[in-house]
Amino acid sequence: MKKNNMLAMILAGGRGSRLHDLTNKVAKPAVSYGGKYRIVDFPLSNCANSGIDIVGVLTQYESILLNSYVAAGGRWGLDAKDSGVFVLPPREKADANLDVYRGTADAISQNIDFIDAYEPEYVLILSGDHIYKMDYADMLSEHIENNADATIAVIEVPIKEASRFGIMNTNETGRIVEFEEKPSVPKSNLASMGIYIFTWKLLRQMLVEDMEKEDSNHDFGKDIIPALLNNGGNLFAYKFKGYWKDVGTIDSLWEANMDLLDGNNELDLGDSSWKIYTEDITTLPQYIGANAKIKRAYITQGCVINGEVKNSVLFTGAKVGNGAKVLDTVLMPNSVVEDGAVVNRALIADGVKIGKGAIVGSADSENILLVAADIKGVE
């Protein structure tokens, strides 16, 4: 941890209930994205690429898959001698009962002992369910330069959408003078990305105080940041430019996948200087049949395509049968579109089978259709 004396804590306990059936059995950070990734690969790879060696992952909701997934730190190169990914679900303690994490700040508070063991100077707090590439080392150097107590990453959003976000109002030096959660009349368009760097000594003290407060939500946005501002803390905004997406709904998850179809998309997963790492699944390369037709698609290994694929993203092991059509659709891992079936504007969940000749979704639907159970074929 010597490199920059900062450890990272990834908040990965949320369900993401607006993703409906996709998060029935897995937490949102474990949801598949971009053909071969899971969402949590993004913060983890960013940590690895930013030279952060110790990463704690705070899990809670349906955590079996997520816990075993992130524990294999070698996937992101986080398995060197002084490096590791640590799964931190709520636990029973000698002086406290087993309790759930009551909020984002409480999740950190309950793991103060874990952080203390590494004696970091700075702690980076991240969300496990955002898609973006960011160099946290650059953010830290601004934090140090500003002699800040806390630095919050912000992104410019269209002003008319600003009332959906937590908005940071800053002065000309970038110092945060006011924080407003979902303001009806926003004064700026700098939205908080839920990425914070704190000087640990100060955060530790604030967390200890917050734990005792009965009226607190134990939440970074609602409690810790406002309290810091009220105390006259030195808070700075770190302006991020680039692709950033919080995929809360089926439509936005579908859209984030569709963003990859444009070869010049901002996320640029092909950039070899900032790779996103993920589980190494043993599969064949992509098999494209003699009668296949593929236009504008993002396809990963293990796929077998004999039909038509257009404007679609195909995940590991997806199969498209003879004469089948997959249009404006996301096929999640190991889903199958059998011979002659047509799928339009849909998101087909992991392992789901669309039977022969079935017709699913429609070209002019307003919303994206989530298909989470097998569809019978029509013979």
Partner: protein, 371 residues
């Protein structure tokens, strides 16, 4: 503990793949876009519970060593197991003294240290799937001193040249091991795969050294045919030997048919390889891909037919790739026609607008070349 340790042997100096072998041993040749040939013997061993494996590296070993690394990706226990990379062949590439026996002799110490009772030796230039667990069991059951794996073919007059073949009696006893000179179509091609006790293996190495410093393992086994109980075991399923450029091309091209992969890639027998963390492949609006195998990390704007595209390749607009193998990290620019070619790793086809070879003698663009 596993009964046997494994040795992945070099291809030997009777085999040379023109062009490609100048850069890397055959084991490090790219196969089907994302594998290397060495993945097959090592996965066979790993899947057969053999987790102590010695890989003998010949000349230009860099790419082989990088690919093997710690062996972790081969599902080998990192504490109990071990993937050793051993060096030999300090002399020139085609030197007659560069035999596998010479390499074993130089590393006799580390062979002697192996605690397993048996050794399974498999080559780095042949592609097949075989349970060595089963082979060992058959070997023990038969009571033979040495068991040799073979594959019956009917095209030994045109293919498998310079491979060894076995002459067997009706009880599958090996009468001789000889070189295939292409005189007969029906042969039992020796798959350069041996099972024997470690002690016998060491004895053979010592005996070979005492007789002649030019002897190979296959030759000393041939000499022992009368004295020892040496038996053949017939292999079924897909088998390819990469012994020259054409056989390399053919072994790859055969796998374009998805049906054929079912013989080599079995659900219960994973073939492991090193991940490159490439992103998925981008098929653009103008892409037209048919009957092909495509790896991850590519950007495809052009037409690809009956071809294999390796990891991280760029095929630009208006370009046609036909009956070809584009090895990883290569780039073919706009409006170029490539047919019956193997385009070497990291090469760029930019200025040359037509690369067409005869279907029987595929062409080769050297590794890292710019045309």
């Amino acid at each position: 503990m596993a009964k046997a340790f494994g040795i992945v042997n070099t291809s030997g100096n009777h085999i040379w793949v023109e062009g490609m072998q100048d850069y890397r041993p055959i084991g490090a040749f790219s196969f089907l876009g994302r594998y290397r040939i060495t993945d097959f013997p090592i996965s066979n061993m790993s899947n057969s519970d053999i987790d102590r494996i010695q890989v003998y590296a010949g000349s230009n070993p860099r790419s082989l060593i990088e690919h093997l690394g710690s062996g972790r990706h081969y599902n080998i226990n990192s504490k109990r197991g071990k993937l050793q990379i051993l060096f030999a062949e300090s002399q020139a590439k085609n030197d007659i003294y560069n035999t596998d026996i010479a390499a074993f002799w130089e590393n006799l110490d580390s062979i002697q240290k192996m605690k397993e009772e048996y050794v399974v030796i498999a080559p780095n230039h042949m592609i097949y799937v075989m349970s060595f667990r089963k082979l060992l069991k058959e070997h023990e059951k038969s009571g033979a001193d040495i068991t040799l794996l073979y594959h019956s073919v009917d095209n030994a007059n045109t293919d498998y040249l310079n491979c060894n073949y076995l002459t067997l009696n009706r009880q599958n006893g090996v009468l001789s091991v000889s070189t295939n000179r292409g005189t007969e179509p029906n042969r039992d091609i020796f798959m350069d795969t041996y099972v024997m006790k470690k002690d016998l293996f060491i004895e053979l190495i010592q005996r070979a050294r005492a007789l002649s410093s030019m002897y190979t393992l296959a030759q000393i086994v041939n000499i022992q045919c009368e004295e020892l109980d040496i038996r053949g075991y017939k292999h079924e399923g897909y088998f390819a030997a990469v012994t020259n450029f054409k056989s390399y091309y053919d072994a790859n091209m055969k796998m374009i048919d998805y049906e054929n992969t079912k013989e080599l890639f079995l659900p219960e027998w994973p073939i492991y390889t090193r991940t490159n963390d490439s992103c998925p492949t981008q098929y653009c609006e103008t892409a037209n891909v048919k009957g092909s195998v495509v790896s991850n990390g590519c950007v495809i704007e052009g037409t690809v037919e009956n071809s294999i595209i390796g990891r991280g390749c760029v095929i630009k607009k208006g370009t046609v790739i036909k009956n070809s193998i584009i090895l990883p990290s290569s780039r073919v620019d706009e409006n170029i026609h490539v047919e019956n070619y193997v385009v070497g790793k990291h090469s760029k086809v930019i200025h040359c607008k037509e690369l067409i070879a005869d279907v029987d003698t595929p062409g080769y663009v050297r590794r890292g070349d710019t045309l």
